[in-house]
Structures are given as C-alpha cells and as structure tokens.
C-alpha cells in the first residue's frame, strides 16, 4: 500500500449538521485511505454515519452540512472545493450508486436518455456515439436485450434491472472510484446475489476501486478486501476483511458478527441481538460510545475515548480488545 499513492484519503473527516440545540454529529473524525483498484467495505448500523461518510467522499453532503477534516482525491482537497470542480469529478472520476433504484432514476426520462446524459455531462460526443456507448455499458452490466431497454422508462423495469441501470449510469463516464451506498438493500436476496456478482466482475474487468456501504457483514465480506466498522460516527475497527471477520478485535464487531442469523442453528434458537440501542447523534458521552452496550466495559471505557490503534492486521479503537488476554 505504501508504494502507491492513495486514490482517496480521508483525514479527520467530520460531518455535522446544525440543529435547534447545537450541532448533530453524523461523522466524528474518520481516517481512511484507499489505493487505486482496491475495495473497502464500510459496515455499521443505521445512524452510524456511514451514508454521510459516503456522501462526503463524493462532495455530495446536503447544503448546510458542516464539513471538517479533509478528503483528498489523488492529492486534491475536496472539502471546500469549488462546486464546478466537484461537478467535473463526480461521474467522471467518482461514481455513486444509490440505495433505492426506484427513487434514483428519473421517472420521466428513458433509460437511454439517462445513460447518455451521464456521459455527455463530461464529454462532448455525438448522439450516435453516446448511444453506442450506452448499449455497450448496458450489455456490460448484463442487462438482456439492451437495445429495447434503452427506449424504456424506469417503471417498465424490474427492481434488479433498475439497479443494474443505476450502476451503468454510475460507470458511464469511466470513474476510477465507485461508491455504492447499500446498493442491494432494496432488492430481494436472489437479485442481491446477482448484483454483488456483477460488482465483482466489473471490478475485475474495469479495475476500478470500490467503496461499498452496507449494514450487512455478509455482503461486504464477499466483495471487499478490507473493511471498516463504524459505530456512532467513528471507525472502531478496520483491517483485512478475513482477519476482521474471523477474529474480530472490537467487541462491537464481535457482537455484529455473532448477530448474523445462521441456517445451521436449530429452528427454535433465539436470534442473537446486541442489547441496548446506539447513542443519539446529538448526545455523545466522553467515553467509548459502545461502552453502555459492551459486555467487557470497565470504568475507563466510560471516562476516556479509545483511539484507533494500529495492530498487525488492522486497527482497533478499544481499551480492551478481544484476543489480547483478559477475554
């Protein structure tokens, strides 16, 4: 990793929103980096800040959001960059795939119009060339009969096809980095498997880097080389996917992995849950945010917030990480 300059580099990234009483912190200082062609999964519960983190990486946070820290794309600072420059980067360099393909496709435009629009926003191309490239891209995301689909409207497509079209739109201008925010959450399980396989084959064919946001460890585990687990706006554990999933160091990651329902379990077995609920984004105690729900918490945990400490295989933010004795 050290040999190659990172494609995108986050340092102390914070996203806050002004609220009636002070500010609400969605992301509270995240450091991440991603090499060209690499893949990173960001996992967390709802409200952990993963979506805001993803939006900030593409300069898409809602107007009014207060950004802190830095996001560098190939060394270029994106926090506070000119809107015109951000527009040039979006689509052409950084593609974004939204969660709900029903809502993210314009209902009144044909699939073809939306595909060519994404391309022609960045390159002056004759209509015929843009159309040919759209057909090619639809075939690449494995949409059957692309010529017919080009003339159709989103409501004439199934959910899985819509998500493929959305991915095709994100890829039209050939980005080096694709950020996918829960791309399979709105789909059923069989369709989800197809979309994940598509991401894997696209990465192989196009060599793009991928940031995949998900609440589902299995989705990330199958697709990403490294993983970052977020809790209450911070990364609590990161590292190579296999190491994090097989030997989690942070009690939260451990609990998350244990909560995945298993088919081998006897039918009457209770589902494993994590007791309690994540803290409200507005009210953050001084200590570790997970301490109130943590079975291993000691007095130090509620008093002092643990920093992300590098380990042999990754990094963890915990005073008493698992696998270091005492557990």
């Amino acid at each position: 990793m050290a040999a190659e300059a990172p494609l995108i580099e986050l340092r102390g990234l914070a996203v806050r929103f002004p609220a009636a009483a002070g500010t609400v912190t969605a992301v509270a200082g995240v450091d991440l980096e991603l090499a060209p062609g690499a893949s990173l999964g960001i996992v967390g519960e709802s409200g952990s800040g993963k979506t805001q983190l993803a939006l900030a990486m593409a300069g898409l946070t809602a107007p009014g959001a207060l950004l802190g820290g830095s996001v560098r794309y190939r060394g270029e600072e994106l926090v506070g960059a000119a809107p015109g420059r951000l527009r040039q980067l979006r689509g052409a360099r950084i593609g974004f795939v939204f969660q709900d393909p029903q809502a993210a496709l314009a209902p009144h435009l044909t699939v073809g119009t939306q595909l060519t629009e994404a391309l022609r926003a960045h390159e002056r191309l004759p209509r015929a060339v843009a159309r040919a490239r759209s057909l090619e891209m639809l075939a690449r995301v494995q949409v059957p009969d692309p010529a017919m689909r080009l003339a159709q409207y989103p409501h004439q497509l199934s959910g899985g096809l819509r998500q493929r079209v959305l991915i095709a739109i994100a890829l039209m201008a050939g980005p080096e980095l694709v950020i996918a925010d829960e791309p399979t959450t709105a789909l059923d399980v069989t369709v989800e498997a197809g979309i994940l396989a598509l991401f894997a084959s696209l990465r192989e064919a196009l060599g793009m880097a991928l940031v995949l946001i998900s609440h589902d460890l299995a989705v990330v585990g199958g697709l990403c080389e490294s993983i970052a687990v977020m809790y209450a706006g911070r990364v609590v554990e990161s590292g190579a996917t296999r190491a994090v999933l097989t030997a989690p160091r942070h009690p939260y990651t451990h609990a998350l992995a244990a909560a995945v329902p298993r088919l081998e379990a006897p039918p009457a077995a209770r589902l494993v849950t994590i007791p309690g609920a994540p803290p409200e984004p507005g009210s953050r105690a001084p200590g570790c945010a997970f301490a109130p729900r943590c079975p291993r918490a000691v007095a130090r945990c509620t008093a002092e917030r643990p920093e992300l400490v590098p380990l042999a295989t990754g990094a963890v933010a915990c005073h008493l990480p698992l696998g270091t004795g005492g557990g």
């Binding site: 527009r87 974004f96 435009l109 994404a118 201008a173």
Partner: protein, 277 residues
C-alpha cells in the same frame, strides 16, 4: 379509437375537448363572415329581439339592435386572444422565475420570493389604472397589465413544487453523475412540473377572462363598441330578466371554453406522464 393519428392524446375526452376548443376558435375567426350583419351595425327594426331566423339574427339582438351572434363571436375572439397571450406570458415568466428560485434555494430563493410578495401586495386595480393612464387604453395594455400580475401565482406554485422536487433522489443522482445544474433544471426539474403547471394554466385562462370583464366593466378594459365576453356578460346581466339570451350567449361560450380547457389540462397532464403511456 382505431385509425386515429398517433400524435393525438389517447384519451377520448381530451380529443373531444381539443375538438371543441378548435371549433370555438375557428368559429370566432370565421363565424362572423357567415352572418349578413356586422358587429357595430344597428338593426332599428329589431331591437332586443329574441333568437330566431327573423332578420337572420341567430342569437337575437341587443338593446341597440346589434347582432348578438356576430358580437359574441367577436367577443370570444378578443377574450381568447387576451387570455391565451396573458397565460402564455405568465407561464413563461412564472415557470422560469419559480424554477430558478426553487432550485437555487437558500438566500436567492428567499430574495426572489420576497420580490413576488411585494408585487403581490401592490393594489392591482391601482396598478392597472396607472398602466392604462401612462400607456393608453388598448387590448395590448390590458394584456400587459394582466400578464404582469398573472405570473406571480404561477411563480409561487412552481417554486414550491421545485423545492420538493429538489429533494427527490433522482435529482441527487443526476448531481452525483456530474450533470450540470442548468441541464438538471431543464431536463429533470421542468418536465416534472408539467402536471401542476398545466392544471394551473387551464385555471388561469378563465381567471383572465373574468379579470378582463371586471376591468372592462370599470372602463379600463375592452370598450364599446368593441365586444369581449366580459362586457357582453356585463350588459347581459343588466337585461337578464327581460332578455336572457343576451347573457346566455356569451355565458354559454365561456362555460364551453372553461370546461374544454379543464378537460384538456387533465388529459395533457396524463399524456405527458410516461407512466400512463
């Protein structure tokens, strides 16, 4: 309907409405030539005569013996022209102004909408009197006066619609694909405004005809001997008990126009929505 050309809207009611409006427009332009009378000609032998074939006054005559068939059609022509022109102006200015304000949001939107509020609060009649005094009395002035105020409501409707559209995910997705703001406004926002804008525009036409009649009644609009639906109805109202046809002829046309426009607006809205196609 088999055999109908493909470019026509599919709903039958819409086609009928389109046909009715076309027929009224054609009648308003060509109809007066079918009568032996002119609009300002007085038939001293037949004053306030009820409709019939006598003297070929098909809609009867008014108190001065003028042929109501010709005068009503001339009135339809004037009123339709003013209404369509004023609606078109309010459509163009209102949609552009409202969409830009709503899409920009923040301070620019607040500033633009406060300007609309200030214009709203100007006393309308006073404003029209000022215009007629400074520019002279003519259908053009009337159209300017109505158009200048008509776009305000349209701008408000469009602005609030645009604001709610802006938060839709497909607009955000277009932004994420790097589509420039101008293209988003033209291709994603404005086409989605078609529904409320069309419905509101079809409501504006009868509204403008009523304002025109009110201004004509005050002596600021279309003046005798020229006819408009507004001043014909004002005269007809005065004779309502003794000669109801003087009111019924212009009213009938107004009702037909308003009904046909309403149906047409609904039909066009459905037709423009790709989900209904």
């Amino acid at each position: 309907m088999a055999g109908a050309p493909a470019w026509l809207p599919p709903a039958r009611a819409t086609r009928v409405a389109l046909g009715v409006l076309g027929a009224i427009a054609l009648l308003a332009v060509a109809g007066p030539f079918a009568s032996p009378w002119r609009g300002d000609e007085l038939d001293w032998a037949r004053l306030a005569m009820s409709p019939g074939l006598d003297g070929r006054h098909w809609f009867g005559t008014d108190r001065l013996g003028r042929d109501l068939y010709v005068r009503t059609l001339e009135g339809v022509r004037v009123s339709l022209a003013i209404a369509l022109a004023a609606t078109l102006v309010s459509l163009v200015i209102g949609v552009a102004y409202g969409a830009i304000a709503g899409f920009a949001g923040g301070r620019l939107e607040a500033l633009m909408m406060r300007v609309v509020d200030v214009l709203y609060s100007l006393p309308y009649v006073f404003f029209v009197i000022l215009l007629t005094v400074s520019l002279g009395r003519s259908p053009a002035t009337l159209f300017l006066a109505i158009g200048a105020v008509g776009w305000l409501t349209m701008a408000r409707v469009v602005c609030s619609q645009t604001e709610s559209l802006r938060q839709r995910e497909f607009i955000e997705a277009a932004t994420a694909a790097g589509v420039p703001a101008r293209a988003i406004l033209l291709r994603h926002v404005i086409p989605n405004l078609a529904g409320p804008v069309l419905v509101y525009a079809t409501l504006t036409v009868p509204g403008v005809i009523l304002i025109e009649s009110f201004l004509s009644f005050l002596g600021l609009g279309v003046q005798e001997p020229a006819a408009s639906l507004g001043n014909l109805m004002a005269q007809g109202t005065a004779e309502m008990e003794s000669a109801p046809w003087m009111l019924l002829a212009p009213c009938g046309f107004l009702v037909a126009i308003v009904l046909a426009l309403g149906t047409l607006g609904d039909g066009l809205r459905d037709w423009l929505d790709p989900r209904g196609r």
